[in-house]
């Protein structure tokens, strides 16, 4: 079994604690061994790039440099964290002069990172490729029972460093959730932007972007939105009320991390997955399919 260095990122500590809980639960269940990077630091999100480029790179590279030398892959669930790790590794590989600068900075802390030493992967990739269809299907308890999910990838997992999925119309989360028994709805805006930090600095603009995403999910008949980024989850979930207020709409769409949906499919208890931490509650939608969970737990449900 491959072990992966694990970079949780700041959000998973606090606002996206549900992501953290569900990632750990799901990985434990699937035998994916995550080894947290010792004393990791913030990746600087997008803010640092516009502030100070070399510090941004050095902060990210510090995490890469601190990865256990025995591990060859690192996975991050947070989209921005994943992007940053991948971006700096790629930049250091392609532009040797840049790598040299970063390593000079790292050397001040007694660290060094050899570009390309670790392979940076998003967790969806680990589930899709390494765990794979067969094991996921086997592990599924059938408890999703056709839950209608809108797969929302957001930007930074699929752009610009996604080598193995489409950056416009990605399919990997669709596939994983389908294997696990969800009914993945057509969601053409699946890789469009949620506004990111605009919700904090320019609300009105962010609200419009959020509205488009909610509207499309609503039209497609989704019961929940599954996402893979703490920022997306925050914007779609926590700001949903204010968006409704702003536009006079009445969307009621629970927004879960995709790992929470996967966890439900694997029969993991909702509390363990952090379900309930979302502002727009998902329990109702899950309950509509939940009777079968109980049945499954009691053993004896026929899978149609």
């Amino acid at each position: 079994m491959v072990r992966y260095a694990f970079y949780p990122g700041c959000s998973l500590d606090v606002s996206a604690v549900a992501y953290d809980e569900s990632v750990k639960a799901v990985c434990a269940k699937l035998g994916v061994d995550l080894v947290p990077i010792a004393d990791w630091n913030c990746c600087g999100a997008t803010e640092y790039w516009g502030h100070d480029a070399l510090i941004a790179q050095a902060l990210i590279a510090r995490n890469l440099a601190r990865i256990d030398p025995e591990l060859e892959q690192v996975t991050a669930p947070c989209a921005a964290c994943y992007l940053n790790l991948a971006k700096v590794d790629r930049m250091m590989r392609e532009v040797p002069a840049a790598a040299e600068r970063v390593n000079r900075a790292l050397a001040a802390g007694g660290l060094h990172y050899e570009p390309g030493r670790v392979r940076v992967r998003h967790l969806i990739d680990v589930l899709y490729e390494d765990v794979g269809r067969e094991r996921l299907t086997e592990a599924s308890t059938g408890s999703l029972d056709g839950l209608r999910v809108a797969p929302y990838y957001g930007c930074q997992v699929v752009r610009p460093f996604c080598d193995n999925d489409d950056s416009e119309q990605p399919v990997r989360m669709d596939e994983v959730l389908t294997w696990l028994g969800a009914e993945v709805v057509e969601y053409p805006v699946k890789s469009q932007c949620c506004g990111g930090h605009m919700s904090q600095i320019s609300e009105n603009e962010a609200f419009e972007l959020i509205r488009r995403l909610l509207d499309c999910a609503h039209r497609s008949g989704a019961e929940v939105i599954a996402c893979m980024c703490p920022m997306c989850q925050l914007n779609l979930d926590a700001y949903q009320g204010r968006v409704n207020h702003h536009f006079g709409t009445g969307y009621h769409l629970p927004v879960l991390f995709f790992t929470q949906v996967v966890g439900v499919a694997l029969g993991i208890e909702h509390d363990v997955l952090g379900i309930g931490r979302e502002i727009v509650p998902a329990r109702e939608a899950l309950r509509a399919h939940g009777a079968t969970v109980v049945a499954a737990a009691e053993g004896g449900r026929d899978v149609p």
């Binding site: 489409d166 416009e168 119309q169 053409p188 805006v189 488009r212 039209r219």
Partner: protein, 675 residues
Amino acid sequence: MSRRVGVYVCHCGSNIAGTIDCEAVARAVGERVADVAVSRDYKFMCSSLGQSMIQEDIEKEKLDRVVVAACSPHLHEKTFRRACSNAGLNPYLMQMVNVREHISWVTKDQVEATRKATAMVTGAVERVKRQEALEPQYVPVNPATLVVGGGIAGLQTAIEIAEFGHPVYVVEREPSIGGHMAQFDKTFPTLDCSACILTPRMSEAGQHDCIHLLTWSELESVSGSVGNFKVRVRKKARYVNSEICTGCGVCEEKCPIKVVDDVFEAGLGIRKAIYMPFPQAVPKMPVIDTAHCIWFVRGKCRACEIFCPTKAIAFDQKDEIVELEVGNIVLATGYDLFDCRRLPQYGYGRLDNVFTSLEFERMCNAAGPTGGRIVLRDRETEPRSVAVIHCVGSRDKRTNEYCSATCCMAALKFGHLVRERIGAEVYSFYIDIRTFSKDYDEFYQRVMDEGVHFVRGRVAEVTDVPRSPAEEGKLVVQCEDTLLGVQRRIPVDMVILMGALEPRADARDLALEAGISCSMNGWFTERHPKLDPVATMTDGVFLAGACQGPKDIPSSVAQGAAAAARILGMITRGRVEIEPVVATIDEERCSGCRICNALCPFHAIEFDEARHVSHVQASLCKGCGTCVAACPAQVIRGAHFMNEQIFAEIEGLLADAWSDVSEPVAAFAAGGVDD
């Protein structure tokens, strides 16, 4: 070895003399380099006066070698070779130095430019002293020609050669000749009916005594060289006896299996399991699609056989290999259309009413799947607005970097057709409109007059997700209108994607077989992009049409005709000259180690098992010198690029470095460089 070398430094007006002190170069070389009998500089060496200066010197000064320092040998090597030849000096005893393109035009510093020129002329003198007289060789030319590809370009070549009574074999992989042009409805900018101008050509080719059509056939292998190629062609089984089939079409009518026609109808129409791709097909003879025919799939049916009035169905037919001997080969294999699914932001394959240009062509064609009606995928609704997106898969580093050259005009044609036939609004989204040929820009203006809306901006995406009531149920084309500097979303009913022209998927395989090369983009490489766009690096292999690069019909026809003219010239001459720059193995000294054997892509090196030595077949050798450089025993000799010659040239180039080491040595000692 004592030689009498003449050195001539050209001023090229001020092109060279403006940067290089030509007189100083001539003087330095004349004084310092051994065996230089004459060293002159002159205003224009390529002028008749310049040439006669060389000729007079050869005669009067008894020169046995000549160096001309002027422009690129690619421009004037022939000129000066001829000048020497006329004065009785073997042309291969002349060496050119390119002091214009390689020095004066690229160097600012006049001192350094003059130094570089002196070094390079010295190199050439040292080299030319060791050059040898070479004589060209000749081989006879087989008058038969092979044309690969039965599209308009290939047909043009075939007909023009056949008109002179020489045999031509046309190999076409589809069941009928005609190519892409047969699929089109109208041709720009004249709006001629494509079929009306093409089909007479097709039948002319089909009926010509000298043209042998090998349709439903593919090229297997090519061997031999210019004048005498041997070609193997696979004639795929049609399962129809060509001797007795009359092309009546009863089989097709009776066949119960309907198949989506992905080739001729671009997926928009239906054909049968036994079919002719289109009614005017040449030869007028069907073929059985074994992937769908019930007999081949399940061993039942045989309806075609039962109903065929001449009993022409032959289920037991086998592929057949035909061997041909030809003197020349023309590649006219055309292009593939870009797979628009590769740009998912445009929605092709996901959004029903996004069409490719070829689909739209078929839709416009009266003989096509909609009978010429412009309708949405439901085959009923006429669109009220149509978007035409240019550059889909062109001018894009992520797909194809080049401009596909034809799509702007085709897009204009589509705009015209929509306006004319259904009066719908047309939005044409372009980066730049390229209407480069005769009457093309006039056509652009005409289409503008007809009310087509032009939006300058590469489309970002096509979506069916509405943001406003006006967008409900529409396809929304989102782009930046770069002339306004704002983002626009334009709702339409139908989108047409002007997909790029791409090299055939198997172009590289064919190139390898024919011994020619492909550009980075995959198009076949011509001999010279300006001065010889018809021939290739392999003598006797010519190019016609879009296989060499995106091309419209007139250009393809012109190139096809040009290839024919070149070949007719060779047939008329009856023999071809082969450059004497070839490798020879000193067989006395070859130890048969066989290092060189696998190195020649032209298969010119063979191993003589009996004598245990390797041997170069001069007629196949292209003179690249790779084997010469590889021979561990150094017993392969590369004419005109021999080791002694190149070593001497290096010595001459570095004469200022090695003839006086004391200066660097002093610096060496003093500097104590510790790198």
